[in-house]
């Protein structure tokens, strides 16, 4: 039996998309009333929930407070039912920690932290079914990207000033072609995989991560594909935000 053909001769991927096309994105803001900001996003079958508290006073050890800017605290936990196999992952495992750190890096670059010195912003994680959390409810590839996108919306919902949207997308490289927004099948095929978080207006890169071998000559193409996809994501998120603001203003009765 031959392996999966990730990109057919006609240029279609396994799920019917073309190389540069994104999966279907649906998002909602303000899904929890008690949090300062929250958002829910679906990118294909990958679903993520982000909740933001803050800025507020430093909780716990005061010594963590930074004199010139806010502390961004990110935590990540995946729901046990989110992957194909049910496995209990206690929070604080290596993968979650790493993801939390990556998110923190990403958002420290985007949030105007200097406006809130000595305070704390939580984009943070609770165990399963916790109310204040950022959870991947179902993972079908591009977990990091979905988290970033959800968190962006949640931070916006919380009204925390940011330099720009942070839009993230993954990209891979198959048979000389760069594929945008990898699904789980494509990720599992084992090719190089790149995650990019972009500030679309300035084109600055908030985070770039890749953990496979890819020749530097090809990096440029893959990077460009990921960046284009991130800009596409921005268009969609922008629409969601505008829709949300529009609805909110109607409710307020203006």
């Amino acid at each position: 039996m031959a392996g999966l053909e990730l990109l057919s001769d006609q240029g279609y991927r396994v799920d019917g998309r073309r190389a540069g096309e994104l999966r279907k994105i649906q998002a909602r803001m303000g899904v929890f009333a008690q949090a300062d900001g929250s958002a829910y996003i679906e990118q294909g079958n990958t679903k993520a929930l982000a909740v933001v508290y803050g800025p507020h006073e430093i909780r716990g050890s005061r010594s963590r407070a930074l004199p010139d800017r806010a502390l961004v605290n990110c935590q990540y936990s995946s729901a046990t039912f989110s992957t194909g196999e049910r496995k209990r992952r206690p929070h604080g495992d290596r993968k979650s920690c790493e993801m939390g750190l990556q998110l923190r890096q990403t958002f420290e670059a985007a949030i105007l932290t200097q406006l809130h010195p000595r305070s704390q912003i939580d984009i943070y994680v609770q165990p399963l079914r916790g109310v204040v959390s950022l959870q991947v409810l179902q993972a079908d590839g591009g977990t990091y990207a979905a988290c970033v996108n959800a968190a962006t919306l949640a931070v916006l919902d919380a009204g925390i000033p940011m330099r720009d949207f942070v839009c993230a997308c993954s990209a891979g490289f198959v048979d000389g072609t760069a594929l945008a927004d990898l699904s789980h099948v494509e990720e599992a095929a084992g090719g190089p995989q790149l995650a990019l978080a972009l500030l679309p207006a300035s084109g600055q890169i908030a985070l770039l991560e890749m953990d496979a071998r890819l020749h530097e000559d090809h990096l440029e193409w893959v990077l460009e594909a990921a960046a284009q996809a991130a800009r596409d994501v921005h268009t969609l998120l922008d629409r969601v935000v505008r829709q949300h603001v529009h609805e909110a203003s109607i409710l307020l009765g203006d």
Binding site: Q10, G11, G16, N45, D217, H218
Partner: protein, 958 residues
């Protein structure tokens, strides 16, 4: 941007995993017909003709497209490949099924689809909004796929109606599945079986023969008598293999006896490595090269390999009992010790059928349409085919493919594929030997040619990037006369510091062949250019091999240069590699170059350069030989061709001049330098070439042979072998040294390509070099192209690609290259053998002097230096009294009726052509001197009937 609907496909495996996959349906997939207003030319470029002409089918006279289902594609690919079949829609469903079931057919389909003239279009129906179907409750995957195909056919018909009502363009569904066809007709889709449709093509009656005969009716006619036991299903076989009841191995039929075969068992168990299978029933329809499962028989039924020659002669089909009798005959005269593990084939794990060359044995019944086909390869059984053109095909070489082997049939069923031409014709025979050696020799496809540079070609600014301009250098090339694919050129000049600068410039083929494209894939598949006596099968298209890459004189050519700075004692001071542009000042032959070096009056730049090179080459050669490099010999001959008939009129042994070894020396040096460089840069994935040292037992024959002449050959190291060969001279027998070298060549192992990350022994025994690769002939060897790419990346002149640094892919490439090189060699030998036959056919019977190379138990192998021809003289003949033969293994010698034959003895033999078997003509030799009554034949033209039946003859190829 994306107009899509999300569907969920759910599959459960093992009850634990839940796989949810998205499946996007699109409405922007074109139907592929050009001029379709609705789809536009949006995607992929239309492939179907808007008005398909010339398919005059009596069943469906109006214009139409064809839509075959999976089984039609899988089994009737030979028909679909015919140029007469055009405008075919290949559904994605069908293509995926083919891909899962047969990789070779999938590849052929892709080639056909890429051919613009065939107008094949792949319709991505699984992602089209209107043609996607979901698996229903209780419906299996096959039924769902069949339904998907019908839905797509229906959609096409409605779609085409919208496009142009007056055109009446329709899609015809081709299926061999009766139920599927009925359902399609119910739904209003015109559907035919493949056979019906092809038979209705009145303009192309010859296509009928190409149909694979799979129709059930065909088999029913045959006698219901079951001959063979049923093959077990794969699941049972796998179980059995796991539990050790069955053994898995490759089936190798015997050349001499059609009722016997051996199965080479996989794995490293010492016992039962080789299992004998004897008798028609036990062979159970396995064909040479198949992967089979065998069951061992109890020890009481074990047999010894028979030494009888049996050829399948029976025309009667169901005479199985008689055949069993013959099989019993084999089992007589058993020696207990000779018994070997014996088994029977219980099932086939993988068929390895390919199209076979051979000839038709016409049926005795005149009107019969069924005939037997005898393949050229004796290991393949005869194949029954159905054809109406038997009288046309008689006496021709044809190709036949096997379709299947039912249990009640003595022979496998097949179908006619292609007519190659008359037996004995040069073109036909060349074609046959190419096919039988699996040498890819079809003209390059359109897809491949599309990657060639556009003519007129010139060097652009862009090409000059990362490239040095060496056009001012006095470069020249030295090659054999008539060479059009010049891939190397040389220069040598004195530097201001008194040192010499020597450059080897190799055609920059990797500049034109970019990794991964169709041109690259095709060259990789071909692996090497094959040189036959009067023909060259190029690895790359002619535009490159004879023009753009050929380093001809007085034109600017791109090259890859290896430049050394040497002192006058040929020590390398500096090595440098660069991509360059050169302009060769002269294309010389070896003779011309030699003449320039020798004549004192010529003192131009080229000659001075050549003299410098020659001087250095001599020093290099001396040094190499001191290190223990071997100088071996093989009787190489060239045919002088008649310029008009292209028949060989004379033979000439290769002459060796100083200039030959001059060029060779620098090529070796370049190869070694490059090998070092790429291995240094890519220690894990450099493509290198090694030549393993032969095991000492290989030399036995050489040592014994030399001993009989009172000479000693030492074989402990390459160096001592080379030295002792040099010393082995006999003043009375000047040719002895050459003979010894020929023998030594036979003792050697094959040199092979390998990937440096997969092996630890890099040594090249013959050249006495610790590391070696091939860099200097990229026009004719694919290995060199890879080496060029590696080197280009190492010096930063070109970009890399993922496959280049994947050692498993590289190992696969090496495997293919080694196979192709071996096959190319065999094909070359076969071509020489055929031309030798032609030569002697024209020349009649001749007597020549010969030397004995080997002594066998019942024959001697002789070499005729004049023709470089090797042949066997047999002392036993079928219907003559057996002479008294005494074989001595130690000396080695053979005593025939009192006359003793030693190795290297001089004899006289008569050469003649034996054409008793049309399919296997061969050169035959008979002893003239020394005279042995009853065995040797008189020197005068004998009236011996040379067409008498052939006897068992073993090929002495190593």
């Amino acid at each position: 941007m994306l107009r899509s609907k999300t569907f969920l496909k759910k599959t459960r495996t093992g009850g634990v995993m839940k796989i949810v996959r998205e499946h996007y349906l699109r409405d922007d997939i074109g139907c592929g017909a050009s001029g379709c207003a609705e789809c536009g030319a949006a995607h992929g470029g239309p492939a179907l003709e808007p008005r398909p002409q010339d398919q005059a089918s009596s069943l469906w006279p109006r214009p139409h497209y064809l839509l075959p289902d999976t089984n039609v594609l899988l089994h009737q690919i030979d028909v679909l490949e015919d140029p007469a079949i055009r405008n075919v829609i290949v559904l994605q469903t069908v293509l995926q099924e083919v891909r899962n079931r047969s990789a070779p057919v999938y590849k052929r389909i892709r080639d056909v689809t890429n051919n613009q003239e065939k107008h094949f279009y792949t319709f991505t129906n699984e992602h089209h909004r209107e043609t996607y179907v979901e698996q229903e409750q209780g419906e299996n995957a096959n039924d769902r796929n069949d339904r998907a195909i019908r839905v797509a056919a229906k959609w096409y018909n409605e779609h085409l109606k919208k496009m142009s009502a007056e055109n009446q363009l329709q899609v015809i569904f081709i299926t061999n599945d009766r139920k599927n066809k009925e359902k399609a007709v119910e739904e209003g889709i015109p559907a035919f079986t493949c056979e019906e449709y092809i038979k209705s093509l009145t303009a192309n009656p010859e296509l009928i023969d190409r149909l694979a005969c799979l129709s059930e009716e065909g088999n029913e006619i045959e006698s219901g008598k079951i001959i063979f036991t049923e093959h077990l299903p794969l699941s049972k076989l796998q179980q059995g293999i796991k539990s050790g009841i069955y053994l898995q191995g490759t089936f190798r039929a015997s050349r001499e006896n059609y009722l016997e075969a051996t199965v080479w068992i996989y794995g490293d168990t010492e016992e039962n490595k080789e299992i004998i299978v004897q008798g028609l029933k036990h062979l159970n329809r396995a064909i040479h090269e198949d992967v089979v499962a065998v069951e061992l028989l109890p020890k009481s039924q074990w047999v010894a390999p028979s030494s009888v020659v049996l050829q399948d002669e029976g025309q009667l089909e169901d005479d199985v009992d008689k055949e069993e009798e013959r099989a019993h005959m084999l089992k007589t005269a058993i020696n207990e010790k000779m018994l070997k593990p014996t088994g029977r084939v219980v099932g086939i794990i993988k068929r390895n059928w390919r199209p076979y060359c051979g000839m038709l044995s016409k049926s005795d019944i005149k009107e019969s349409r069924r005939h037997l086909f005898t393949p050229a390869d004796k290991r393949i059984p005869r194949i029954r085919i159905e054809t109406r053109q038997a009288s046309v095909l008689e006496g021709r070489r044809i190709i036949v493919a096997i379709d299947g082997w039912p249990r009640n049939s003595r022979y496998p069923n097949g179908h006619f594929v292609r007519n190659l031409g008359d037996v004995g014709e040069k073109e036909t025979e060349t074609e046959v030997l190419l096919l039988e050696h699996d040498v890819p020799h079809q003209p390059f496809s359109q897809a491949v040619l599309s990657f060639l540079p556009k003519m007129p070609w010139s060097i652009t600014e862009n090409d000059m990037k990362n490239r040095e301009d060496l056009r001012h250098l006095c470069v020249c090339s030295v090659d054999p006369p008539g060479c059009t694919d010049i891939d190397d050129a040389l220069h040598c000049r004195e530097l201001t510091n008194g040192n010499l600068e020597v450059g080897v410039h190799i055609a920059d083929v990797s500049h034109f062949i970019r990794p991964g494209n169709a041109l690259d894939q095709e060259s990789a598949r071909r692996g090497t250019t094959v040189y036959l006596c009067e023909k060259r099968i190029d690895m790359v298209p002619e535009l490159l091999s004879s023009n753009l890459c050929s380093l001809r004189c007085d034109v600017d050519r791109l090259a890859f240069s290896c430049i050394w700075e040497m002192n006058h004692s040929a020590e390398i001071l500096k090595t440098r590699f660069t991509k360059s542009v050169i302009n060769s000042k002269a294309s010389l032959t070896y003779a011309e170059a030699q003449m320039r070096i020798d004549s004192a009056t010529m003192n131009d730049d080229i000659t001075i350069s050549l003299r410098g090179l020659n001087k250095l080459a001599k020093i290099l050669k001396k040094r190499r030989i001191e290190k223990g490099a071997l100088t071996l010999s093989s009787p190489e001959v060239r045919f002088h061709m008649d310029s008009e008939t292209h028949d060989p009129i004379d033979l000439q042994t290769k002459e060796l001049r100083e200039t030959n070894s001059m060029v060779e020396e620098f090529m070796l040096l370049a190869n070694i330098s490059v090998a070092k460089k790429i291995h240094e840069e890519f220690s894990e994935h450099a493509l290198l070439r090694k030549h393993p040292a032969p095991p000492p037992s290989n030399y036995e024959i050489l040592v014994k042979a030399a001993k009989s002449k009172n000479l000693e050959i030492k074989t402990d190291t390459a160096k001592s072998l080379a030295d002792s060969l040099d010393r082995a001279e006999s003043p009375a027998f000047p040719y002895l040294n050459t003979l010894l070298r020929i023998l030594a060549t036979r003792c050697m192992m094959q040199a092979v390509y390998f990937c440096s990350g997969m092996d630890s022994d890099f040594h090249h025994y013959g050249l006495a070099s610790p590391i070696y690769t091939h860099f200097t002939s990229p026009i004719r060897r694919y290995a060199d192209i890879i080496v060029h790419r590696l080197l280009a990346v190492a010096i930063g002149a070109d970009c890399t690609y993922p496959e280049l640094t994947d050692k498993h892919k590289l190992a696969d490439i090496c495997k293919n290259l080694n196979f192709r090189h071996k096959m190319a060699q065999y094909a070359q030998r076969a071509s020489v053998a055929f031309h030798t036959q032609l030569f002697f056919k024209n020349k009649g019977i001749v007597s020549e002097e010969a030397y004995i190379l080997f002594v066998r138990k019942n024959a001697i192998v002789v070499l005729i230096p004049k023709y470089g021809l090797e042949g066997t003289v047999f002392f036993e003949e079928k219907d003559k009294p057996k002479p008294q033969l005494i074989y001595d293994d130690e000396t080695p010698s053979l005593k025939v009726e009192g006359t003793i034959f030693h190795v290297f003895d001089k004899v006289k033999v008569k050469i003649m052509l034996d054409s008793s078997n049309l399919q296997h003509q061969k050169i035959r030799m008979a002893l003239v001197e020394p005279q042995i009554p009853g065995i040797s034949i008189p020197n005068e033209i004998s009236n011996m009937d040379i067409n008498e039946p052939e006897e068992k003859r073993r090929k002495l190829e190593k």
